[in-house]
């Protein structure tokens, strides 16, 4: 993937985030500069508390930086209103969470429809579920699905709106290795087939080997930003 410096998807400049957690202040990000490019598969690595999730939340318009600017293409997210951020999330971003965040009272297909109903150019929920190989499980409730299946539903839900970017927060964090691989395969397939700019955060360094780029975070700053020269196929990942 060739990085054209002018055509970024995201550009963060001097992003700092401080938030109160109970009775202490947490400095989650301390002046981060970062650009993400179209179609790029990036893995954000770092130990817990390094600021990965905060970074992802800010990219996804779920949170605002305390200081610094964030641009999505030519839109300044730091200056956007709540309504504009809602619109940005609705149209441009697909989220996958560590704990799936499926709504327990809705079936797999209904969980996907939740998103397709509010976006302007979605694919049918059935197609999204087919992309993650869950066609035959689509009428099951979350409690009837395994962890890997639930996470794949979450991925289907994220990509059903045909988002420009896919943001995944520890998508395999709650899964065993074999199940994690199937989930990563699904994400990889979306990235390759739909060309969706994809960012995955994880503390599992092995996952970095399937990406185009690895960004390592430590204590709220980017410690290392490297291109992956030789990607390993997902099926061969081991941890």
């Amino acid at each position: 993937m060739i990085a054209d410096e002018q055509h970024f998807v995201f550009r963060m400049r001097g992003v700092t985030k401080v938030y109160p957690m109970g009775e202490v202040e947490v400095h989650a990000l301390r002046g981060v500069d970062l650009k993400l490019f179209p179609g790029e598969f990036t893995v954000l690595l770092g130990p817990s508390g390094s600021g990965k999730s905060t970074l992802l939340n800010i990219l996804g318009g779920l949170d605002r930086p305390t200081k610094g600017t964030v641009h999505y293409r030519d839109q300044d997210l730091t200056a956007a209103s709540d309504r504009e951020l809602t619109w940005f999330r609705r149209e441009a971003v697909g989220f996958v969470f560590q704990f799936y965040n499926l709504i327990p009272s809705l079936t797999a297909r209904e969980n996907v429809s939740l998103v397709t109903e509010v976006s302007s150019d979605p694919m049918p929920p059935e197609d999204a579920l087919a992309l993650v190989d869950l066609t035959d499980r689509r009428d099951h409730f979350p409690s009837q699905l395994s962890g890997g299946e639930q996470q794949r539903v979450a991925i289907a839900r994220a990509i059903a709106k045909r988002p420009d970017v896919l943001l995944c927060d520890e998508p395999t964090g709650a899964l065993d290795a074999a199940t994690g691989i199937t989930v990563l395969e699904a994400i990889n397939r979306i990235n390759l087939e739909l060309g969706t700019t994809t960012t995955v955060i994880t503390h599992n360094a092995a996952i970095g080997q399937m990406a185009d780029r690895i960004v390592r975070m430590h204590n709220g700053v980017i410690a290392e930003d490297q291109r992956v020269e030789t990607k390993i196929p997902v099926a061969e990942l081991r941890w």
Binding site: M21, L62, T86, F88, N101, S105, V118
Partner: protein, 787 residues
């Protein structure tokens, strides 16, 4: 948004017990509201139609005797639409099968045609023939209570002569919707009846040829009632008129108006409580749901759902619960309303019964319940909307606990860890704890209120009939009689004590405030008819000055020691200034009292008597009644035990229905609140409790943490509920208060105790239900999920 709606419906289904509990609280409020308001509308409409159709008069006056010619002068008063003169007289009756004497009020009917005003509705039989001796129409209530019917004869002492009356028809009149004699607390249909007799026959019996003693007027639209009354009084004064009064002072009309007033109080007070509780419950439940759905909300926001969509989503569940409640309540309220209307209709003997559901009332009720839902959900929904998505994504920060008073006092070692957890839990969220207690307190309050009616009546009966009016019989004479009659009464069979009284109609005036009543002249030494002051200590009548009932003092706005004007309405009609020498506590009427000698001096008349109170040996009762029935001078005899019985029966009929409803509703609130509180605290703590189980706590120990908190909340709720209940009873006493009667603000300790016991029982049942859920706590599942 079909998928979100599906989520909503499934979640409602999942928490159906909780949702139903809230819906039932809403339903209770709506039911009471619909019942009261539709019955109110029914009563008003039926009364107005009745008054209109049977030409109920606007102004009434009576006079000892006025020649017919005066009627023409009255008719000339500006603003009068119609006029009806009559002969009205009270007679003592001997009714078959009735031991004690009864009182009949005879009213003349025109010899031909219907009365111009105060027409009668003939339910059965026919009009009396003006040429036949003693034929009468009898009031429906009297006939029914005494199980007599058309064709039955009744002995009457008319104008001092014994005569036989024959019932030829049974009738109803708008003038006697409440068949109650002035001065009585409640109707006594068995011992007081209204009869209509042809004018010709009445003229003969009462020597009233060419004269009348009663006049009713109907006013033209826009005419001034005060002016008409003033002119009427001026015309009747030479003939001894005691003053005309408007419809609002007509006894039956006033009873009816009071009933409507008290119903209006019910329509406001009870539904307010229920809606308040429902709003509170919705708030608690929704706050909780939103609390557990932090992540869901964050997810929805991440997918691009707008704040307003999310707010509407959560608000909708409150609205649905409220709507379900409103629907149940509207149906139940209509059913109860038609039942109550039927009861009233029988009680008041309206000639017609037409009850139909009032759609507007139902819409208003639905509106109120939706409003309660919005108010109740507002805070919770606002929390959901304000939740920044990224923050919601993170697990909530550990709740900040502080050292409790226990630690500060150094008592930590003395209390087990479970108790410490309970105390810290309550202390961490004092507002929530207070609100939960307040909710349970509302149930306690409703229970207190449900007992208040009978407590007040018990107190009233004890006060009225054991502590103040201690006589067995009250005898009233036709006209004032010389004190010699005192000895006659004393020698009647079984009579133990006689205390005579004199009653004089008066108008009491203080500045621009005035009130028409009568002054009762009592003897100085009294034991049968006592007056108690506001501290319930017997009042000694002063040698001069007047003692007023507390309500009368309030109406006139006078205090002890102030001076007021007394305008006597009979005889020489003197106007005198007197000092208010005492205030007597009374729950009925607006009465004034004086020493009899002082009253005589005020009137500048010699001593005469209007009636007497008697204490009677029960063994000679029947003999005494028989004698009294035959005594021409005696216009009426009221028997106290019969009055009490009547009072209880009437009240019981009215109150019992209402009370059983209230107790049911109180139980609904108690269980609704306690169950919801328990369920929510289970949901909030399930993770914590499961963790405790995992690290080795027993089932019993974790139960005691959960239920212990509930127990503390319930115990705190009880005094709070007593206080709220007392305040609401005070508001009801104020709402029900009328000139005719007031309710004492009395709540027995037993009622407080009962409210506490019922609430604790409801809490225990709810606790048990939750305890059972605790046994099914899936430890692994609870620990696995993030929330």
């Amino acid at each position: 948004m079909r998928t979100l709606d599906r989520k909503l419906i499934r979640e409602l289904g999942h928490s159906k017990a909780q949702s139903l509990a809230i819906a039932l609280v809403v339903a209770s409020g709506v039911a009471v509201f619909v019942m009261s308001v539709s019955t109110l509308a029914f009563l008003r409409a039926t009364r107005d139609a009745y008054y209109d159709r049977f030409r109920f008069a606007d102004v009434f006056a009576s006079v000892p005797r006025a020649p017919d010619a005066v009627a023409n002068q009255i008719a000339a008063i500006k603003g009068i639409a119609a006029l009806q003169t009559r002969i009205v007289s009270e007679v003592s009756l001997d009714v078959p099968e009735l031991v004690e004497p009864a009182v009949g009020r005879l009213i003349s009917l025109p010899d031909s045609g219907a009365p111009v005003l105060n027409a009668v509705f003939i339910k059965r039989g026919r009009l009396p023939n003006p040429d036949r001796h003693g034929e009468v129409l009898a009031s429906d209530a009297f006939v029914e209570s005494n199980s007599i019917d058309i064709g039955d004869p009744i002995q009457a002492v008319m104008n001092g002569r014994l005569q036989e009356l024959v019932i030829v028809g049974v009738a109803l009149s708008p003038e006697y919707v409440f068949q109650v004699r002035g001065g009585d607390l409640l109707p006594d249909d068995k011992r007081f009846g209204v009869f209509w007799m042809a004018k010709r026959q009445m003229e003969a019996a009462f020597d009233m040829d060419g004269a009348f003693n009663d006049v009713s007027l109907r006013l033209l639209r826009g005419a001034s009632e005060d002016e008409v009354i003033e002119q009427l009084d001026r015309l009747l004064q030479p003939y001894g008129g005691v003053g005309a009064y408007g419809r609002e002072h007509q006894v039956s009309a006033r009873f009816l108006a009071d009933e409507i007033k008290s119903l209006r109080a019910t329509a406001v007070v009870a539904p307010s409580i229920f809606m308040g509780v429902a709003a509170f419950l919705l708030n608690v439940v929704l706050s909780r749901r939103i609390g557990t759905q932090r992540i869901v909300i964050a997810g929805l926001k991440a997918f691009g759902y707008s704040n307003s969509t999310i707010a509407w989503h959560y608000l909708k569940s409150s609205l649905i619960i409220s709507l379900i409640g409103a629907a149940i309540g509207a149906v139940a309220g209509n059913w109860m309303g038609s039942g109550l209307a039927k009861l009233y209709s029988e009680f008041y003997r309206f000639p017609t019964f037409v009850f139909y559901p009032d759609v507007r009332v139902i819409f208003v009720a639905i509106g109120i319940s939706l409003l309660a839902a919005v108010v109740g959900s507002f805070r919770a929904v606002q929390t959901a909307v304000r939740l920044p998505p990224a923050e919601a994504m993170r697990p909530a920060a550990p709740a900040s606990y502080r050292q409790s008073l226990l630690e500060k006092l150094g008592l930590t070692a003395l209390v087990p860890v479970t108790v410490r957890m309970i105390i810290r839990g309550l202390q961490r969220r004092p507002v929530n704890a207070f609100l939960s207690s307040l909710g349970i307190g509302c149930a306690v309050a409703v229970l207190v209120m449900s007992r208040f009616g009978s407590d007040a009546i018990d107190y009233l009966i004890d006060f009225q009939f054991s502590r103040t009016q201690r006589h067995d019989l009250q005898v009233v004479f036709y006209e004032t009689t010389s004190p010699a009659v005192f000895n006659d009464l004393k020698h009647l069979p079984g009579v133990q004590t006689v205390e005579a009284f004199r009653a004089v109609p008066v108008k009491l005036v203080n500045g621009h405030r005035e009130h028409r009543t009568s002054i009762m002249g009592l003897s100085q030494r009294r034991d049968l008819f006592r007056l108690l002051n506001t501290d319930e200590i017997p009042i000694r009548l002063p040698p001069a000055g007047v003692v007023l009932s507390d309500k009368l003092a309030e109406i006139l706005n006078v205090k002890n020691g102030q001076r007021i004007w007394v305008e006597v309405l009979e005889g020489a009609k003197p106007i005198r200034e007197v000092t208010v020498a005492g205030i007597a506590k009374e729950f009925s009427g607006t009465n004034a009292y004086m020493d009899r000698a002082a009253l005589n001096r005020l009137l500048r008349e010699s001593d005469v008597l209007s009636g007497a109170f008697l204490a009677v040996d029960a063994r000679h009762q029947e003999e005494l009644y028989q004698d009294l029935k035959q005594t021409p001078r005696v216009a009426s005899v009221s028997v106290k035990s019969a009055t009490i019985q009547q009072f209880r029966d009437t009240i019981a009929e009215n109150q019992l229905t209402m009370q059983s409803f209230t107790v049911f509703f109180a139980a609904v609130i108690a269980i609704g609140v306690v169950y919801n509180t328990a369920r929510i605290s289970l949901d909030e703590k399930s993770r914590e409790l499961a963790t405790l189980r995992v690290i080795g706590f027993t089932q019993g120990e974790i139960s005691s943490i959960l239920l212990g908190e509930l127990a503390v909340l319930t115990l705190l709720a009880i005094p709070l509920g007593w206080l709220i209940g007392y305040s609401f009873c005070a508001a009801m006493v104020y709402g029900f208060e009328s000139e005719l009667y007031r309710f004492p603000l009395v709540i027995q300790p037993a009622s407080y105790a009962r409210s506490a016991i019922v609430t604790m029982a409801a809490a225990a049942v709810s606790g048990l239900l939750v305890h059972r859920r605790l046994q099914h706590l899936d430890l692994v599942e609870v620990l696995k999920s993030r929330e």
